[in-house]
Amino acid sequence: MNDIIFFFPIESDSYYEEKTGDLSLKSWKKWVKNQKNTEIFVHKDPLNHFIHLPKRWHQWFFLDVLDTHGVDYKQVAVVTSQTMIQPHAPNFFLLNSEFFASAYHVLPFDVLIHKIEQVKSYFPQIELDWRRYFSTDFFLVNERHTSSMKRFTEFLEEKKDELSTDAVHPLFNYWIKQEKIRLRFLNEKYHLNMLKERNLLRDEHWMKMAHLWNFSSLKPNIAAQLMTHLHESWGTSS
């Protein structure tokens, strides 16, 4: 059995979003090529039973999609097209085998607190620590988490008329805590984001100091420019 990258393309409405999605996928394909026992599965067609849900939520049905396509897995890394990985980045599957794993998602503090409070009413007994808010653009699960993921998709289905599309990220953070799933935080090099606010765009250090970048905080045209630069810096030999 292999480890699987489940690549989820975020819906793109513009030239720049399409370009960033394309660069993201290229980086993941290159990375997979450099690994042993790892495959990439690119999500394309939603299944009938969740097609009526917001497109951004289709990501959460990744286990259903893999099952339908007969893909077996040891671990699955769900990644979105907002991310890029260094083609020679160390294999994070090897750092983790039994835990749910992700990386800390740096966000503006007001946004972070808003997200945490936005869905708190669904989990009145759970206190979510803002410093343990993990990324939903990159996380790892394995077969131990199958039933919990299934219940999460049922929860989304049940609450679909009440929830805004973006509420799903904090919801998932709460969900993992409520289910008492052990969460392993990967090194921050596996999720470098908010490049502008963190004073990273004054020079090119940001291109060397991480294994994985998330460009979601940037405007699509800026993200496309930076991702192109990153992609070109790796050349064709990667």
């Binding site: 740096v106 503006p108 503090f109 007001d110 946004v111 607190i113 620590d129 803002w130 410093r131 090194n187 921050e188 090099k189 470098l192 606010e197 963190r198 004073n199 990273l200 765009l201 004054r202 020079d203 250090h205 940001w206 100091m209």
Partner: protein, 233 residues
């Protein structure tokens, strides 16, 4: 266990000092003030070094070194109990761009030591114990031996002691304990944390030192006047 906070007076804001005094009384923590005459950057590392002979300091088991313009919530928990007897610091790579540049600039003083940016800690609040006396002496000695370079880095690059302390901790293999970033919540402007003062509900110690003055003073005063804080005093 006898505990103290070593608080700079120079360049500090009266409300920050008051916050520590109120908090100290609640937790039986003595508040020690430095000399008003000099900037408390490297000098404070001599607490357990040159100054240890002063019996008034020697009596403490743990001392928290606090930067100027750092305020504590009067109802903040006692962080001394969280240190596991290690050098307690705050790991927070939010300003990753600044961290990597300061590490690069300080590298010349530590050619054989490597500090990764994800392991970088802040010294806005550091807790030391008696067992760190030797380390503190080494820090102060390092400063004395490299005064010219450090002064140059400070004047040209605005690098203060924080980055050198990171290298010294790595170099001397000092075991640290990372406290929650709520105990030195910094970069408030860059984090978009100032607007609604939510940070005062979610964090305990606020570091205003990276906001340029006089803006920092305005935020300190506004924060200190909040009902939430005044009612906790």
């Amino acid at each position: 266990m006898k505990k103290a906070v070593y608080l700079p007076t120079y360049n500090n804001h009266p409300s920050c000092i008051e916050s520590w005094e109120i908090w100290g009384k609640k937790h039986q923590v003595s508040i020690l003030h430095d000399s008003e005459k000099e900037r408390p950057i490297w000098q404070r590392w001599s607490l357990f070094g040159d100054l240890v002979t002063q019996s008034s300091l020697n009596e403490y088991d743990k001392i928290a070194l606090v930067n100027p313009c750092v305020m504590i919530h009067p109802s903040a928990p006692d962080f001394f109990s969280l240190t596991d007897d290690r050098l307690a610091v705050i790991y927070d790579p939010f300003l990753a761009g600044d961290i990597i540049k300061s590490l690069e600039k300080m590298q010349k003083a530590f050619p054989m030591t490597f500090v990764d940016w994800t392991e970088y800690f802040h010294t806005g609040l550091v807790i030391i114990g008696k067992r760190h006396e030797l380390f503190c002496r080494k820090c102060f000695k390092f400063r004395e031996e490299n005064r010219e370079l450090l002064d140059q880095l400070e004047s040209d690059e605005r690098l203060q002691e924080q980055t050198a302390i990171n290298y010294l901790v790595k170099d001397q293999r000092i075991h640290t304990k990372g406290l929650h970033p709520a105990f030195n919540f910094s970069a408030l402007e860059k984090r978009s944390a100032l607007m609604d003062f939510k940070f005062t509900e979610k964090t305990f110690v606020w570091n205003f030192s990276d906001i340029p003055k006089p803006t920092a003073n305005d935020w300190i005063e506004k924060t200190w006047r909040l009902d939430l804080l005044q009612n906790s005093c």
